[in-house]
Every structure is written in structure tokens, then in C-alpha cells.
Symmetry: D3
């Protein structure tokens, strides 16, 4: 019943290089983009490794944990090497493939060696969530359910890979958490220990933001840029420090927007729904103007 | 190509009890945590039971509906009993397993006996969504697509399980809806009939909130706590009534924050982007301060 | 162990027509509702067709692209015809089934013939995202990761189907993007070229909104209705023009709410967290009132 | 790395109608062949319906069996109607599609109405297997494991469909059993009650064979044709009665070949490895010639 | 389009206890039959454990093998305990469930403790296949492809479980191999080391057969019963020794049938297509009578 | 409940290199064995390419066939290159990996270039099956159902790969057919056009067999070796010509065994159940000795 004449000409038009030339990326010899499914498995493996007993095959005991961790670390290495290799192929047109393979292996080995430290940091985040939320009933509830832990664990993975020079993948991992939790943390952001986010939907943390220890933010908070420079061609200048610095022990309530390379001083409290574009002193309490009834 | 020496020592370190002792939960004899996949199937079965013809095998007629409902109710009972048992094992170290099995069966039987009432309540929510949205074309569109119905149906399931004393699972079911819709309703919240949420992303409803009948809220609305008490050790005191009471026929517009154990009186209207921390009288209209141009 | 007497009577009650009569939809002879899974595959096929090499079997070259596009277009036609047919069955009780089948084929043929134009428009959206975000590293990053592109591509598909008179499906496709990205664009909204949304969580664009070319909006922005008329029975009047018109080159910062059938003039800039309910002149800059510290 | 020139020309050659013209079958408007996967589900549904508690959701009780049977019968009807329709499309070039749809529904309704009788017959086969094998421990072992029951149940399904005039599908169902069990029964064969096959690998029962009640055959037995007529063009003449008639209470031992339209009389016993091409009298014992040592 | 009246009455009839009473098995409180899928995973896990590097995650090295074996043994234990428990429930109506659970655990622990010995025996079978087949190119070819190894490994698993008193499961595992390879070895048969079967289709080895070391048999060989006793009710007497004893170093060529409790003496050779029903002396060569041309 | 002490020591023993040293194969740097699943997909792709419209997406027409063939040929190349590379890694310890990759690509390109010829040959086999079986109703029935076509198509694929020097894979593909059909053809056998096998279970065709054109064999036929030489160490001498030569137009009836490097002359007919170990003249009819009654 299909009108074949139409669809054959549509196929011709859609296959015409000129119609997608502007967004075409020439892959190297059959190497595809990193795969969303593989990165999802990567993240799930890391969660299973870092929080033994909570994810994956969950009836683990002291006799068998080493078997599970060992198998998971090996599988993580195998999958992540392939994905990192794909991302290097995307970004490096002139480097021989064997060099990229070697580099991928080295990068993944370094990444894996950082997992123990990553676990220690994430445990501080779990503790911060537990002690900061009267509704939290147990660590288990936080590790299994809290979107903050999902978003922060993806961020710590993505940030580590970004520091190792891996292209594309960090952003893909951040967006997976963004889609799942509504929390959008750019992998470039540098975040201290004991970080927690309550509820979280709508949170935005920009690429050059710096966050200290023991910081807590609520849903809808933006740590964004006030504006950005354009170069002589009207394009945005990349790599400018344009997001805020949040010092230790700061609390930022829901839907507040902190914009520009400003500093929120240690222990400050920012009220909800505010729009802050200049520095805030240590220990200050910034609150909203009164509402009319 | 992997540097085996590195990865073996990483496995050793990651398997060392001391490195995850702080978040370790000792499971009872091989009983795992409740499973996200099983709870997703649970929720899908309940949707199929409550809205026959909309979900699952959708070509249902009056002759065969009893077969489908019967099979779905039996499967629901079977899956939910296992999950509730897992959650009791998590929470009850000293109770004999057979007692927990019996208790799980009883709890699930009570839960299932409440499904007819749950359907009646959810039908009022569908009607509220339909009559409150000029863009809504049919009940079918609302049942199949509207995030409000997904979030509210998960909430009504989670709330019922919470009342029955089931640990962990209510929060897991709430977070599934939060992830899917951006609407974060704590399972503890008590919500009346004809409840609707428009668009919904960013909505937060806290643990001790009480919502009357015929209430409508828009995206980004927070029904939250203003602050919370700490005990002598600096930990938050649990189970304090700290979220608002919203009486019948209230409308709250987008991004408003209603904070603390305050009461929004019957028929009140709260404007968008507001920050409300004290009681609002019946029938009052609270609107935003003027903006400068 | 289940209490069978309870559950049999529950099945009887849940199968009783009277208990779901209010939301029951009588299907035509065994034709089910459109399927979420099939629509997800539809959207994925369209993404693979429009951005060759980025989705699906990603190692494509100039020799083989026609094979992949051809197979994907054929499969798209086959799946979409069935889904459109289901949606027409839902909406058209009296039309002979064969007529609905024929109409479905025609609609899908027209839809497919518009794919080349849709690609050209989406390429402008990719360019707008790239040139508007200093954090963007490549077109590939935008096409693969950015929620804006996911939401806008679903919207352009849904809008086209809506214009062709297809019921239910456009809204289902929009809600898929809403769930994935937190961006809620009603399929009725008319949106120009070079449209971009930064971060995006919490964005709402209403059914009768009109958006020009080169418009950029940030997370949490609402283009909503101020209120809506009720008819003599207290039901909302459908199809009233009640959402804003955003002219070319407008920027709207995070969490601003633009409400009602007002016009934001060409080149205007709306600050974050604002609540705008009346027209804004061309080129105007609207900013927030000062905050108290 | 692929030699593209070669493979493009291979694709051209393989797509050239002339190269597959001899085996090409022109489908009617997009109707594919019956699907092996759908027929496998068909057979599994029938097994679950006929032997409640053994296959599918196996914890069935008297309260819920009707739900399970109801859902399974409905699903069986739905799948089988589509498959029978495909098979009629294959075979009937000139009949309007709607007529074929109607005919498919009628055929499937008749088929379903014969399931109760089919169950009674298969129960006799289970009993024959149990009472004929000292190694059999229980009816359950026979229903769950014995290849004879798999092969005979597929045969009884296929034979019923053949009698109803359904093309292609009966043979597909027979071959599924052949592949699984090594027992090759042509769907045309007419087989009485209490039929059993021990071990079964290598058994062949031809298209026009007739088997009475209480017949038992062992592995490797052939009930075949001695030769077949050719027509004036050298092609075999179809539909000639060319396979044996096996009367009641016959036993045929392993690897015996019974060839041609001969009759093995009631109660006869045929020894193993024999080659029998003429009638055998009632009650006769046919045994092998002595072997040399 | 379905004739509902017919199908409702068919469902009623098919749900009527009287129509399946003869084959009905009353399950204990919701415990289903052992599952074919779970037993397939069981066998695959055992193959992966016994032949490391050949099955499952096949890139294993000396550093990581312990992780893989550990995870596989734990998973094997977990799955097999559930299956053995199901089989005991099937067979033991009066024993308390907790006793059956404990017994299942004990049986599986013993079974697992025998895996090292099972590996040593299977390695002898691999060697026998390699040294007995001029077409064999490597041990790997034999372990990965040869049906003999599939059938014999399933047999050695099934036989061990049978010795441990596990009902139903041994036969199910044997039939899985029978279906895959055409080789039908009853789990009761006792088989020595260095056993091999060439090609194998059609081989039958009966319940009480005893096979020595270094025995080789070809396709189509039957080690069967000549006849079996009936008891006073006409039912076969179970547990009678009725299959042959094959001593060490015997070779039996294709399609030979060795029937009854006879002994084939050490080193004897039985020619193809023979029918042997009495003892054969050590070292004898039994060959076929001449054929007429 | 598991006895952990036992199972830890079992894991240790099963991980001890000495216990599997005799069958251990040292893989090259992480390259696993060819995968059964990948080879199954390979065979299915080839069937879909060779018989367009019968397998895979079966509603194909003259406009779209090139798209389907193109996508399938590309995917075939991609999968098969990886599998061939794995098999070369298995067999070639000293060759640089890049050389093996290049060789794999070349081999697969040659293999693909032979597909058109393979289609022509297989069409002759389909015709032979159709014209040789009075029960065959259509070419479609033969292509979709007949085990002969499955076994012969796998054989022609496996034989071609064997000729190209690919290790392991040809045997794996042959065994897949053996398992599915009970027909065991060694990939080394050389087989002419218009070859058919009726029923097929139990057929064995040895490594060095040669079969002419228009040959037909029945179930249970063996073309085997009479004996094989041992070398000075007692191992079988490989690569000896030890299987029969079957000339054109020969028919061999069921369960006949043709053994040794003998020649069955053109047009000869071999009766069922025979054991033939010496040459048969052209046109001869060899039949069984009479049976006693």
C-alpha cells in the first residue's frame, strides 16, 4: 500500500551527502561512536564495585566478595577500554590506531586504580545525604534510591575520565544522570567531599564551577554563567572561568540561581528562588524580598 | 594489554572490608535487597489491573477481562510477596524467616484488597486532570501520557505500602516516578481525591505534607520544610511534622515554594515563583511582587 | 499461603464494569492503543535516518549509507503505519477499517516525504546549540548528548504528526521526551529554526505558543497560560490561544515564566526567575528586582 | 578495511532478480511468511493450556486455573489467527484479503474448539508412555521430558490444522518437533490413541501412514514409501497412498523399516533392524535373521 | 471477530478439573516444577567451571580465573539449590519445607564438591575423542563442537544428581542433551573413563547399562532392553537389571543393537547394523552376514 | 545456608592450573574463541541474503531488496571478520595481530564474493528436494522447513570457509546444523549440485567423502570410514582418504552404511539397512537379504 515512488526518492534525498554534510563526522575505519548501552553497563559495574551488596548480584559475603569484585573489575576494564578507544578515534584523526589502543589501556588502568579513592569520597556523600535529611531512614535507602547519589556518582566517574583526557564519554555519562535524575552537573565541575543535593530536579552545575566540602544544595539550584564572551567571529570563547566558587559548608536553597565567577563564602546560606550575581561573604544569610499578599 | 599487577591489587583493596565497612549492610542468609526490576513490574501490573484496556495486553473485552485481571492479580501477589519479604529481611534481624514470610503474605493480601478503592481514587485524579487542562483531548490521553497520573499512581501505591509498615519499597517506588516524571512525592505525604499536577517537572512534596481534595499544583512547586531540628549529636530529628497542610480547592502556580508546617486555607490561590513560609487564609490570592522593566 | 477467598472476590470486584465505567474506552474490534515501545522505535529510527552515522549501526560510509537509510525508511513506514492506524481506530468509531488503513498509509507517506526538510531544520538547531554554549566541544557531543536536541527532535516529529491530524501519538512522543529530558513541549507549539534550550529541565512550552527563529531559552522557563476560560458547565474551553508569542532572537533566562497570549518582541532578553504576564517590547531587557542581603 | 568495490558489486549481483527468480515467491501486499517464533509460542501456549500446571506459570490452583486458561486461549487465538492469515495469503493469490481474514478467524475458532478433545487424546499418549517404559518414574517426568510427548503433541496440533486446510504451518510445526526430538512425523499421518515412541531419534512416519490405537514404536523406525511414481514429466505424483497401515496393538522395534502401502496386522511384532515391504499378518512376530559371530 | 461464545465455553471445559484429573499433579504451596531454563543455565555454568576459557567469558588468565570460577560456583550453588528444592517438593508431600530446603543445600554442597573429580573424568573423555578420530584437529574443537562431549558431560552431571537422590532433574538434563545431540543416555547408566561416541545421532544407552573404561561407540548404537516383565496388573516392573554390560576397550560400530542383560567382553568389537542379544566373549569380533548384490 | 568452607576449597581446587593443564589453551592477548551466537547470526544472515523474502524481514520487494541485501552483506562482513580473526588467533601463535586482521578481511572478502555462486548451487538443492519428494508442496515449504536445506546450506558455507583455511569455524557451523537436523556432514566433504537428503536424522558424511551431482540419500545413511591407521605412537593418522566416493545420480536408502574409500558407481541404488564396504558398479542395485518371518 506504500507509495513506493515517493519513498524511493526520499531515500535518495536522505542519502545525499549534501543534505547532511554540515553535521557529518567522518569515522576512522569502521570505529563507531561510544555506545550508550556500554556506558550504562560501565556505570552499573562501577556502582556494583563501589557499593558491594547493593547492586548486581546482591547476596554477597566476605568469602565471595573478592570473586565478584574481581569479575566486575575485569569486565569494567574490558568494556571501558573499548569505549575509550572509540572516543579517542573520534577525536584523533592522525594518530595510529595501535597507539590509541595502547593509550586507552593506560587511561583505563589509571581510572581503575582510582576506584578505591572514589569509594571513600562517595561514602562521604552518602553520609552527608543521611545526616542532612530527616526523611532518610537508612544508608541503604540513600544508596538504592536517592537521585543525589546517582547523579554524584556519575559525576565523579565523568570528572575522573575528563581529567584523564577522554573525549565525549564524560558528557555522555553526565547526561545519563541528568536524564535519570533531572540533575545536570557538567563533568568539568570540581566538587569536594560530603556533597549532597536534596530532591535535585532542575539542579544545574556549570563546567567551571568549584564546590568545597560539606556543601548542600536543593532542587532547582543553578550554579551558572552570567554571560559569556564572543570571539571576533561571534562564537563563544571556550574555556573561560565563568561559573561560581562555592566554599565549604554552604547551603543553597531551592531554585536559587548563582551566576558568574563569583564566590559564595564559607558557611554562607542562600535562600530559595534568589538570583545572585555577586560575591557573598563568609557566613552571610541571603534571603528573599518579602512577598505581597 | 591490561596491567594485571595494578588491577589485582585494586581488586584486593576494593574487597577489603575496612574500605566499605561504613556503608556495609549485612544481609540475612542470602536474602537480597528488593529489586528495581521486580518493583517496576509490580507497578506496571497494578496499572494494568486498575486501568483495564490501557496497559498490558490492551485488547480486552467484557468476556475476557476477568481472565486478565485474575492472572495479573495472582502475578502481582506472587512478585510483591517476594519483594516485601526482602524488605522485611532488610529491616528485621531477629525475627524468624518463616514469620517474615507469613507477615509478607498478610501485608500483600491487605494491599491487594485495597486495589478497588485505589482505582476509584485514581479515577478522580484522571477527571481532575481532564477538567483542569484545556489541552487535554481525552481520558485516554491522560491515562496513557500524563506524568501526573504516573506520579500520583506510584504515590498512592507507595503510600499504601508505607501505611502497611513495608520498609524501603515505598521510597523505591516513589523514586521510580521521580526519575520518570521529575515529580518527587515522598510516600509519607497524605493526599486527597481529585489531585492533579500540571506538567510537573520539579514538583517536591515532603514526607509530612497533607493535601486535601481538589488541589491543583503546577510544575516546580515545592511543599517543603523550612528547617529541621538537630538532636544533641547534630543529627536531624526524624518524624517531625515539618511540611505544609494544603486544604481543599487550593491552586498553587509554578515554582512556588510553600515551606514549613503552615496551612494554606481552603480555596486559596498561590502565584508562581513565590516563597511562602507562613499561613495563608482561606480564599486568599497571593501574588508576586511587581517586576522592574 | 495467599488468602484465596480475598483475592477471588477482589478479582470479581476489579472485573466489574461499573467500577471502571467512567474511564473505559471501547476499542474497535481488537485494535489496541498505540504502543509506547513501537513509538520509541519510531523515534530512534527517525534519529538514525536524519543523523546518519550517529545512531543505530554507526559505522556508515558513502557506499553503504543508501542501504541503511533504505532499510530504516522502510521499517519506519511499516511501524508508523500500524501505530497511526491504531490511533485512528481510537478516534474514529464509524469509519470503515479499510478506510482508516488507507488514510494511515497516506498520512505516513506524507510524513516520510517531510523527513528531508526536518533534517535541514534540526541541523539549524544543532548549530544553535553549538554556537550558544561555550561548554560544547563538537557537533557530535550535541547530537549524541544534548537533551535539547532530543526534546526538539521529538517535538518536530510530534508537531508534524499533529498537523497531519494524527490523534494521541503526538502527545505520547512529546511525553517520551519530557520524561527523558524534563523538557515539556506541547506538540501544538509552532517553533522556528535555530531553536535551542540550555540544560532544559523544567522547561514548559504550551499548546498554542509560537516561537520565532534564533530563540534561546534556559532551564525552568515556562511559556504558559495565565488562566483559562470555563464554559457554561465549568469545563475549560479547548483551543483558545492562550500561550505567548516569542519573536526572533529572544533570550529567556532560567526559571522565568512568560504567561498568557502576550508577545515578547524581537531581540528582547528576559532575566531569570521572572514572572512576565504582559507584552515586552522589541529589544527590551527585563531583569529581576534587587535582592536583599 | 573491507574491499568496498567487491562488496558493492556483490550486493548488485545478489539483488538481481534473475539470480533468484527460480525460487522467488511474490508475497501479497506486505504479508510475510508465517513466523517460526510465533509458531513456537503457539505450541507452547497449547502445551500450557492442555497440561495445566506443567508449563508456563506453573503454580496453578483450582481457583485461578480459569484465569490462566482464559488468558492463554485468548492469546493463542490472537497469534494463531495472524499466522493462519499469513499462510492463506501465501497460498491464495486471488481471494480478497478480508475474506482470508474471516476464513482465518473461522479456522482458528474451530481449532480451539477441538482443544478439549486433543487433551483427552494426549492423556492417552502419556499413559501409554508411562505403562510402556520401566524407566518412567511419574506422569510428570513424561509430560516434562519425554521427546515422544513433544513430538506427538506437535503432530496432533499440526494434523488438526492440516485437516482444516491450513497451508505451510502444519509442516513448520512438525519440523520444530523433528529438530527438537529427531522424530519426523508428517502432519498428514493419521494416528490413534495410546500412541507411544520410545527414545525416538530417527523415527520417520510418512504422509499417508495410518496408525491404530495402542501402537508402540522404537527409535529409528521408518514407516516410509517403497518408491513413488513419476508423471510424464518425471516429477513425483503427489497424494498417492504410499505409506503403511499399522493396526492396533502393534509393536515395532528399533531401526525397523516398514515400506510401502502394506498392512501390519493387529497385534503384530516387528523385530529391530528389519526391512519389511509386504503385509504382515495379525499377531505375527517378524524377527531378524541370525548373525554370524 | 472471534466467536466469543465458543471460546468462553472452551475455556470452561478446559478449566474443568475432571478433564485433566488423570494427569494432574498437586503442587505444594506454590512450588513449581524445576525449570528448563534454570537447568540450562546450570549446565552452562558447570561447563564454564570445568573447562575454563572455553565457555562463558572466554578471555581468562591465571590471575583472574579464581574470580570467574568463584562467581560461577556461587551462582551454580544458588540456582541449583532452588531447582533441587523444587524437585524435592514434587516428590515429598509430607516432609516440612524447611527440611527440604536444608536437604537441598546439603545435596548441592556434595554435588559441588564432586566437580573437581568430574573435570578429571571429562578430560579423559576429551582425550578419548581426540585420539579416536582422525578428523579431530585439536582439543578445542572437541570441547567446543563435539556432540559426544555435550552428551557425556550432561550425563555425568545427571548421573551424579541421580546418585544423590534428586528426582526429575537428572532426566531433564539428559533430555536436554538428547534434544541437542540425538544421543539418549539414561541418567542411571554407569559409565567409565575415556568414553567416546562418534557422530552420535541415534545412540541409546539404557537405565541399567554398565560401561567400562576406554569404550567407543558409533552413531545409532542401542544398549537397550530385550523385553521387560509386567507385574500382576500388566504394568512394567521397575528397577530390573535389563541393559547390557560393556567391558573395557570395547568398540561398537554404527546402528548395532545390544539388547538385554548380556555382557560384551573386554576388547570385543561389534560390527555395524547388528542385533546382539546374547553374551559376546572377550576379544571377539562380531560382524554382519554378507549382503547379496 | 551454603557450607562455605567446602565451596571455597572447591573454588581453589578448580582454579588450580594443574587440574586443567591437559586441556588448557592459552589465548592470545584477550582474544576469545569464535562465538556460537555470532556464528548463528552469520548463518542466519547468509540465509537471508541467499533466499530473499524467506528469512529475516520477509516483506521484500524489487524496490527495496537492494537495501536489505546491502545492509545484510555489510553486517555479515563485520561479524564474520571478527570471528575469522578469533579463529586465526587461536591457530597462529607467532603471527602479528595486524597481519591476522588483514588476512581475516581478505578471507571474508573472498567468501562474500562467492555468495552469488553459492545461491545458484543451493537453488539446485531446493529443486532436487522438491522434485524428489511427493510430499513437498512448494519451494517455500522446502526453503522454510526442510532439514536437508538447513544442513546443506550450513555445509556449503562451512566447506567454503574450510577451503579458505579458516580453522575451527567450519566445524562449529557444521555442528550447529547437526544439532538442529541430526545430519552430520563434515565440512571437508566435497558435494556436487542437486544434492538432497530425505528426513535426514542420523545421516553421517565423513571428512574425505566425495559426492557427485544429483545424489539423493535417506535418513540414517553413513558415508564413513571402515577403519583408520594408527601411527607409531598409536594415534590416528590424520588426512588419509578414508571415506567413499559417490558418483552422479546415486540413491542410497535409509540406514545404509557405505564404509571406506570405495566408489559407488554412477546411477547405482543402495538398499536400506545395508553395510557396504567394497565398490559398487555403475547402475547396480544392491538390496538386502531376505528376512525370515
Amino acid at each position: 500500500m506504500q507509495n513506493k515512488d515517493v519513498s524511493v526518492s526520499v531515500v535518495d534525498e536522505l542519502s545525499d551527502y549534501e543534505t547532511f554534510r554540515r553535521v557529518y563526522h567522518r569515522h576512522r575505519s569502521g570505529e563507531p561512536f561510544p555506545s550508550g548501552d556500554a556506558l550504562l553497563e560501565t556505570v552499573n559495574l562501577i556502582r556494583a564495585i563501589l557499593f558491594p551488596g547493593y547492586f548486581g548480584n546482591s547476596s554477597i559475603d566476605m568469602n565471595t566478595i573478592r570473586y565478584h569484585v574481581g569479575v566486575n573489575v575485569e569486565r569494567l576494564g574490558s568494556i571501558l577500554r573499548d569505549q575509550v578507544f572509540s572516543s579517542f578515534c573520534f577525536d584523533s584523526d592522525d594518530v595510529p590506531l595501535e597507539d590509541l589502543r595502547k593509550k586507552s589501556s593506560e587511561v583505563v588502568d589509571v581510572f581503575i586504580s582510582k576506584l578505591p579513592q572514589m569509594r571513600q569520597t562517595l561514602i562521604t556523600d552518602v553520609e552527608a545525604a543521611y545526616y542532612g535529611d530527616p526523611a532518610a531512614k537508612s544508608f541503604a535507602e540513600i544508596i538504592l534510591c536517592y537521585p543525589a547519589i546517582k547523579a554524584i556518582s556519575n559525576h565523579r566517574i565523568a570528572h575522573e575520565l575528563l581529567l584523564l583526557g577522554v573525549p565525549l564519554i564524560p558528557r555522555m555519562i553526565s547526561e545519563m544522570a541528568h536524564s535519570e535524575t533531572g540533575i545536570d552537573i557538567h563533568p568539568g565541575a570540581a566538587i569536594g567531599n560530603y556533597f549532597t543535593i536534596d530532591h535535585g530536579t532542575g539542579v544545574v552545575v556549570g563546567e567551571t564551577a568549584i564546590i568545597g566540602n560539606h556543601v548542600k544544595i536543593y532542587q532547582g539550584v543553578t550554579l551558572g554563567a552570567k554571560s559569556f564572551e564572543l570571539d571576533e567571529f561571534g562564537n563563544p570563547v571556550k574555556n573561560v572561568l565563568r561559573h561560581p566558587i562555592i566554599e565549604d559548608n554552604v547551603i543553597i536553597y531551592s531554585n536559587a540561581s548563582i551566576l558568574g565567577r563569583i564566590t559564595i563564602g564559607e558557611g554562607a546560606v542562600i535562600g530559595g528562588n534568589l538570583w545572585v550575581t555577586s560575591d557573598v561573604e563568609k557566613g552571610a544569610k541571603v534571603i528573599q524580598s518579602k512577598v505581597e499578599k
